[in-house]
């Protein structure tokens, strides 16, 4: 078994971006995160105003178009693949709760935080809850994505829940364990070529004060409850840069690295290893990308009606199918593929363990599946954003003279030509990753090669399903 621990920490090339003094000064500045949040908070307020006071017509309302087309496309196509959890650093939703908890917005206020400071239950220190909250939102997506009021209510609920949890529990419990968006951002952030890590883990071992955990005059204790000395994966870090500010040893930096390094990690000190909750997140995301491609981009009107709650019996069928595919269908087929792999490879490892380990190989494929799905509607619908710059509430204003800009789909017939290489990239990377994970778990390359056959077949089948929906 390949073990990557302290001795082999960061066994991949890294380029420390924070060696640039300008960037280092910027991220160490107390106002850094506030300056990231501020413009997003302004847009978020406008989104809420538009959602509650604007026109109920979705494609004429700023809330729908800027959240579910502009923000979503930027998040899934650019921010996550290139910068991981950078959105979590600039997200306005947990900001009011955090500011209230700290009784400060920018400055480092000493003293007790304004919270009961309860510890999050041990049984919930995983992403199962995030899997549940994501499925709940995803199940009602036809309402949420198309009705401004529904979008407004969901966002207001998020902000209220984040505020409540910050008053009850320590630090950013909402972001780490509850946020439905944070769950999949964390999963896919493991692909990104950007990381916040310590420079030398040995320095953290010998540094007894642990300012990053306890906080000091320069920085708050890690809001994500992570210990940078044992931080190996982007999923556990919200890029808030508090540890970078607090570390008196200047041992924390932001690095560029090759894509997907966190997914290759098998073992590391202070990390329990690959887990079923994260494996299930990979299944849920992949299933949802397929289901959404069929429901929203497909020609089946009855599916749209069922998802839209037009018919309660139809919605019950849809919900059963949706949850069934997410929780049983896709994981079940993958389990069969893993059982075959285990049998062909004559592997002694428990089936459940191999199932969890190999599920991480689906992460690149899931991300590219989401990018492909997003491409199918973003180029067609992005032009709805232009008139909204002049008339965000759909009240008949023309502030910038763009209100009458017509809906203009951009190169819709060429979208499959963009989707195809994206899906292929995901397939190639996922098969390669499956081989590496199989090798980590089965011990030798010959067994890994044999185990790869059913897993690669499963992945190929998934890509063919996407292709059937987009091109067939």
């Amino acid at each position: 078994m390949v073990v990557r621990g302290m001795a082999r920490a960061f066994a991949y090339p890294r380029l420390e971006l924070t060696r640039c003094s300008l960037l280092r000064r910027l991220v160490k500045h107390r106002a850094f995160q506030f300056m990231l949040i501020l413009p997003n908070l302004a847009v978020f307020v406008l989104v809420l105003v538009a959602a509650f006071l604007g026109t109920p017509v979705g494609n004429r309302n700023f809330a729908i178009i800027f959240v579910w087309i502009v923000w979503w496309a930027a998040l899934i196509i650019l921010l996550i693949p290139l910068a991981g959890r950078i959105w979590c650093a600039m997200c306005p939703i947990p900001a009011p709760g955090e500011w209230l908890q700290r009784l400060a917005i920018v400055t480092r206020r000493p003293g007790r935080p304004f919270t009961l400071g309860l510890s999050w239950p041990r049984a919930l220190r995983n992403i199962w809850l995030q899997n549940g909250t994501f499925l709940a939102v995803a199940l009602f997506s036809a309402l949420i994505l198309t009705r401004p009021l529904a979008t407004g209510i969901v966002l207001a609920l998020f902000i209220g829940l984040a505020l409540l949890l910050s008053l009850l529990f320590e630090r950013r419990v909402f972001c780490r364990y509850v946020c439905p968006v944070g769950g999949f951002i964390g999963l896919y952030a493991m692909v990104a070529p950007l990381e916040l890590r310590v420079k030398d883990p040995q320095v953290c071992v010998t540094h007894k004060e642990k300012d990053c955990l306890r906080g000091n005059a320069e920085g708050y204790p890690c809001p994500w409850m992570a210990y940078p000395g044992n931080l190996w994966r982007n999923i556990d870090c919200g890029l808030c840069t508090e540890c970078l500010k607090a570390c008196p040893k200047e041992n924390v930096g932001i690095f560029l690295r090759p894509f997907g390094q966190d997914l290759l990690l098998a073992r590391a000190p202070g990390w329990k290893g690959r887990s079923l909750d994260e494996a299930y997140k990979a299944f849920i995301m992949l299933s949802c990308a397929l289901i959404y491609s069929a429901v929203y981009i497909g020609p089946w009107g009855f599916l749209k009606e069922w998802a839209n709650l037009s018919d309660p019996a139809g919605f019950a069928l849809y919900a059963t199918g949706f949850l069934g595919v997410n929780l049983i269908g896709l994981p079940g087929v993958f389990l069969i593929a893993v059982a075959l792999a285990r049998w062909i490879a004559r592997a002694g490892i428990p089936l459940r363990r191999l199932f969890v380990e190999l599920a991480y190989a689906l992460v690149p494929l899931g991300l590219t599946g989401w990018i492909a799905f997003t491409l199918s509607f973003v180029l067609v619908n992005i032009s709805y954003a232009i008139p909204l710059l002049s008339d965000p509430l759909g009240r008949g204003w023309d502030l910038l003279g763009t209100a009458s800009h017509p809906w203009t789909p951009y190169i819709p017939e060429l979208v499959p030509l963009l989707q195809l290489p994206v899906l292929w990239l995901g397939l190639v990377v996922s098969i390669g990753l499956a081989f590496r994970i199989a090798q980590q778990n089965l011990g030798d390359a010959a067994k890994a090669r044999r185990a790869l056959l059913p897993i690669a077949s499963f992945m190929t089948l998934i890509v063919l399903l996407f292709q059937r929906l987009y091109l067939g």
């Binding site: 017509v57 979705g58 494609n59 004429r60 036809a142 309402l143 198309t146 009705r147 429901v295 929203y296 981009i297 497909g298 020609p299 089946w300 009107g301 009855f302 749209k304 009606e305 839209n308 509607f377 067609v380 619908n381 709805y384 809906w407 789909p409 819709p412 017939e413 060429l414 499959p416 030509l417 195809l420 290489p421 899906l423 292929w424 397939l427 190639v428 098969i431 390669g432 081989f435 390359a445 890994a448 090669r449 790869l452 056959l453 690669a456 077949s457 992945m459 190929t460 890509v463 063919l464 292709q467 059937r468 987009y470 091109l471 067939g472």
Partner: protein
């Protein structure tokens, strides 16, 4: 084995060429076009294609029209509930139909592959997802790219099997 790997990889990548040819270039067959008439009912938030004289069932299985490459397609577009649009990807056709009227749309299916048609007139909450499909057969872009996917997967798996020393 190295040669076999390059061959399989090459075939995989060729799978991308056919969709490019199919979706980008107009290929007009040199024969008299056969006329294909389809009645297309639009209703929030789906299209129901019917053969001439066929009764309308509310939950049609899908808004999918299949024609052969080179056929002259005549669509009789009608709106059942409210005004709907018809924008056909790749053909630049954009029409609006009001309830009670019929709009006739004619074009020659000059490119093989799948082309979506979408509502271009705001008709309700799911308007951006009111989508139908025109499939011009033989659907070369799909079949060739599917073959490309299979060969690409074989090439990646083959990298570990055939290039053992180099993998």
């Amino acid at each position: 084995m190295r040669g076999a790997w390059f061959l399989v990889s090459g075939i995989g990548l060729l799978g991308f060429i056919a969709p490019v040819v199919g979706l980008v270039f107009r290929l007009t067959p040199g024969r008299t076009p056969v006329v294909r008439e389809v009645e297309l009912l639009s209703q929030a938030f789906h299209y129901d294609p019917l053969q001439p004289g066929e009764a309308h069932t509310r939950h049609a299985l899908g808004g999918r029209i299949e024609v052969r490459w080179g056929e002259r397609v005549v669509l009789h577009l009608r709106a059942v509930d409210t005004a709907h649009g018809f924008y056909l990807d790749g053909y630049g056709i954009n029409r609006v139909v009001q309830p009670g009227e019929e709009v006739t749309i004619e074009f020659i299916a000059i490119r093989p592959g799948k082309f979506r048609f979408r509502c271009s007139e705001t008709c309700g909450p799911l308007h951006p997802f009111m989508i139908g499909e025109l499939v011009v057969t033989p659907n070369l872009p799909f079949y060739s790219s599917a073959l490309g996917t299979i060969f690409l997967a074989l090439a990646v798996v083959g990298r570990f099997w055939w290039l053992k020393g180099e993998a």
